[in-house]
């Protein structure tokens, strides 16, 4: 068939394939057949209507950059940066495009090649110099704690101009848990095994209560729970941001710490961290010393809901009378493909009624540090989410990830709505606590 000139036509050309530790694989990229079936599942596409902010568009941009058709200009990089990495597209893609892996590789490439926007570089610096360092993290948490306790937050969130700028900062209150590494809980009677808990970077400070509940629920179900010493932040935020060197350094430390702990399973109650730890094998694949260890360790990682739902669960007999709606954390539902386990656990609680909101697996806009970097998009998504929640009439939002919890709490405050945001294990814990034989 003759083809007219001037029309780029079916695209056939030699590729400039980049090699190196961050390279996005050509095989991964060519899996996308541009069918468009992911578009309506992408929050940034449905918010903007722009193909440039869609999974298909971003994949195409990454490919065009890799092939040298376009440069990684601020405009192009901006489109990659606005992605939430919620991986909703990946979960619905019939062609099996490994979007998460591709986007992480592309961001690493952008960061390594030095044309990264300033805000991105600052974010990376913050992640590396604060989040990854427990001491500085504790200091930051102390500031946030004071900010709330002093009433400054109350004030700031009532000043019109300031309000939108501060509302997404996470709440830090309540005691830090665990105060130190070691054995956190022991089974009451029959022992099922020994699990190691990832304590994480911000969780102990902002959501110590979730760790406490996790430990009690696991103990109640026959597990000894230990927090291995020497563990650090899992590196999820660094991977997502493209800072693979830091992510790999953290992963290696964690591999050492958790191998040392020699537990039957590694329990994670933060979906984002769990998804990254399950991918440690991939992250360290090029490290001859760690590749195998990392792969094996990754196989032991379980989300706390996944672990519990797979057991003959100790039936909670106490009642939790509440209308609850469940928000699927993206990294649980899409990255780990776990969506029935948490619902099963909720439905096991006497008195609790679960009402589904519209689109429960749509990102709430939290997405790690996204809410700090892209406030407007984050708030738009949060507003939609809170409307969906409000439509259910639920008084409690259950979820399974600290980032989502912080974001949803901010949403309730923003709308001055009553209600509570809880981790699924907190509700289980309450039900156990209220059992006639409760502890």
């Amino acid at each position: 068939m003759d083809r007219p000139a001037g029309f780029s036509g079916p695209f056939v050309r030699q590729r400039r394939i980049r090699a190196g530790p961050n390279a996005v694989s050509d095989a991964d990229l060519s899996r996308c057949v541009h069918c468009g079936l992911c578009l309506q599942h992408c929050p940034t596409y449905t918010e903007t209507g722009l193909e440039t902010e869609s999974p298909r568009g971003r994949l195409y941009l990454i490919k065009a950059i890799a092939e040298g058709r376009i440069e990684a200009t601020p405009t192009a990089v901006g489109h990659l940066d606005l992605c939430l990495q919620c991986r909703n597209c990946e979960a619905v893609c019939p062609s099996g495009v490994p979007y998460g892996r591709i986007m992480e590789g592309a961001r690493a490439e952008v960061l390594a090649n030095g044309r990264t926007p300033l805000a991105w570089r600052l974010r990376t610096l913050f992640l590396r110099e604060v989040i990854a360092r427990p001491g500085r993290m504790a200091a930051l948490a102390a500031c946030l704690r004071l900010y709330r306790a002093s009433g400054l937050r109350w004030l700031a969130e009532r000043v019109p101009y300031v309000r939108d700028r501060v509302v997404l900062a996470p709440t830090v209150s309540g005691p830090t848990f665990p105060p130190k590494a070691g054995v956190l809980g022991r089974p009451q009677d029959k022992a099922r095994g020994r699990v190691a808990l990832l304590t994480g970077c911000i969780m102990p400070h902002a959501f110590g209560r979730v760790h406490e509940a996790t430990v009690r629920v696991l103990a109640r179900n026959g597990f000894e729970v230990v927090a291995p010493p020497g563990q650090l932040c899992c590196g999820a935020l660094h991977t997502h941001s493209g800072d693979r060197p830091t992510a790999r350094a953290l992963a290696r430390r964690n591999v050492d710490a958790f191998v040392e702990a020699n537990a039957d399973a590694i329990v994670v109650n933060s979906a984002g961290c769990g998804s990254t730890m399950k991918e440690y094998g991939e992250l360290l694949a090029d490290d001859p010393e760690y590749a195998d260890k990392a792969e094996r360790l990754a196989g032991l990682v379980k989300d706390v809901t996944e672990l519990l739902a797979g057991l003959p669960l100790e039936p909670p007999s106490g009642r939790v009378e509440a209308l609850v709606t469940y928000q699927d954390p993206c990294h649980l539902a899409h990255a780990q493909r776990i969506s029935s386990a948490p619902r099963y656990l909720l439905s096991a609680i006497p008195g609790l009624r679960l009402v589904e909101m519209a689109r429960p697996d749509r990102c709430c806009g939290g997405a790690g540090v996204y809410s700090l970097a892209h406030r407007d998009m984050s708030l738009d998504l949060l507003d939609g989410k809170i409307q969906d929640v409000a439509a259910t009439g639920a008084t409690m939002i259950a979820t399974a990830n600290p980032g989502c919890m912080a974001q949803l709490e901010a949403g309730l405050r923003r709308y001055r709505l009553p209600g509570r945001v809880v981790h699924v294990v907190e509700l289980l814990d309450e039900a156990y606590g209220r059992s006639p034989d409760g502890v």
């Binding site: 007219p4 001037g6 079916p10 095989a27 209507g49 440039t52 065009a64 376009i70 200009t73």
Partner: protein, 488 residues
Amino acid sequence: MLDFQVVTNPALIRDLRRAVGAKWVLDAPEDLIVYEYDATIERGMPEAVVLPDSDEQVAAAVRIARRHNVPVTARGAGTGLSGGAIPCDGGVVIATSRMNRILEVDPENRLAVVEPGVINLDVSEAVAPYGLYYAPDPSSQKACTMGGNVAENAGGPHCLRYGTTTNHVLGLQIVTPEGDLLWLGDKTPDPPGYDLTGLVVGSEGTLCIVTKIIVRLLDRPQSTVTLLAIFDEVDQASRAVSAIIGQGIVPAALEMMDRNTMRAVEEAVHAGYPPDAGAVLLIEVDGLEEETREQADSVRALCDELGARELRIGFSLEDRERLWAGRKGALGALGRLAPSYYILDGVVPRTKLPAVLRGVYEACDRFGFQVANVFHAGDGNLHPNILFDERVPGATQRVLDLGAVIMRLCVDAGGTITGEHGVGYEKRNYMSWIFSEDDLEVMGRVKLAFGTGGAFNPGKVFPSSKGCGEVSSRMKGAIAKAGPDAYV
């Protein structure tokens, strides 16, 4: 370094920005590049993309493009399978993604008025509370837009019984090449005068831009039964298709997938298809309770008779959805078998199905490509998907050649070159296989009557010897080519 050149006219961009707001006009190469594709393997860059929010803004954008002498190509979700939304001659792309409001639902009169960017499935979801639905259901219905459906006269599995888009559109608001807003048809089923609505449905964006659509809604059938029959051989399955229709049963849907497709689907949705089966038929019957049971029984008996090795049946919505899951995700799942696929869309008389299918397999063998067939067997609408790797030098050209051979098979069997995906860019050169010079002349005159010339979606539908091929020097400059492109 750019390997393509975008010649933008600053005055054009400025005027567009003034009309729709700066944020909604794209002109950076990094932005334009994601508008160079749709779901086909064709590519073509626009020089500006506009995302209007209202019919008025569409009209304004059309007027501006006209003033600057550049063509306009409408774009819905870019799921098209004939290169329709690709601006093969540059110019302005008007993307309807922001015009996605359902303006009116009138359950009494069973109709709805929607904007062109509304997603097909969203219409059915919005009217579900009234027990109604919108019948045409392309497999891409979770993603494709109503505007795209109208332009392509989209069909779907259930169009066997209920007809394609054209049977469900009552009226359209359009923007003419002069940039005027105009209503064709209205809320009544059969308005007097020429059926201009019918003319626009299926015109692939070459006559006008659609800005509002009045659609007909149907009552949800009282009862629906879905059957899935697995056969050892494709031949058996195609015989079953003829036998079912021959019995006077008109199923709501009658779909077939062959072994390669089943392999891809199995990987994607774990539908439980046996790996050594040759073909699977999906048959859906609906209507009144009693009627559907009876029909389901006859279908079952027929499939048994023709050697089906396994039959599954679903009554509840959940079970039926499970049976359908494989079919709905089939096309996308082909990405698991090969990096690229080239989907064909031929139609043959139902009785010729077995012979043509054999021909398709033979031709693909000869060219050395794998093929996966997934199609609307009930109306003889074939979709052979040629699997290939576009990175292999020369592969794309050979695939296109093979496509032509298969299209020829369909035409020789008394069929035609498109069932539902449209002619678009891809198949325009096959037009002369089925239409005489005189036929094409008449079509060209229709285009002229609309006053379109090359204003809307140039380079589509009409054979390239008379179309944009000769004059597609667009990227460089002016467009005094409305004439040649209009073919007359």
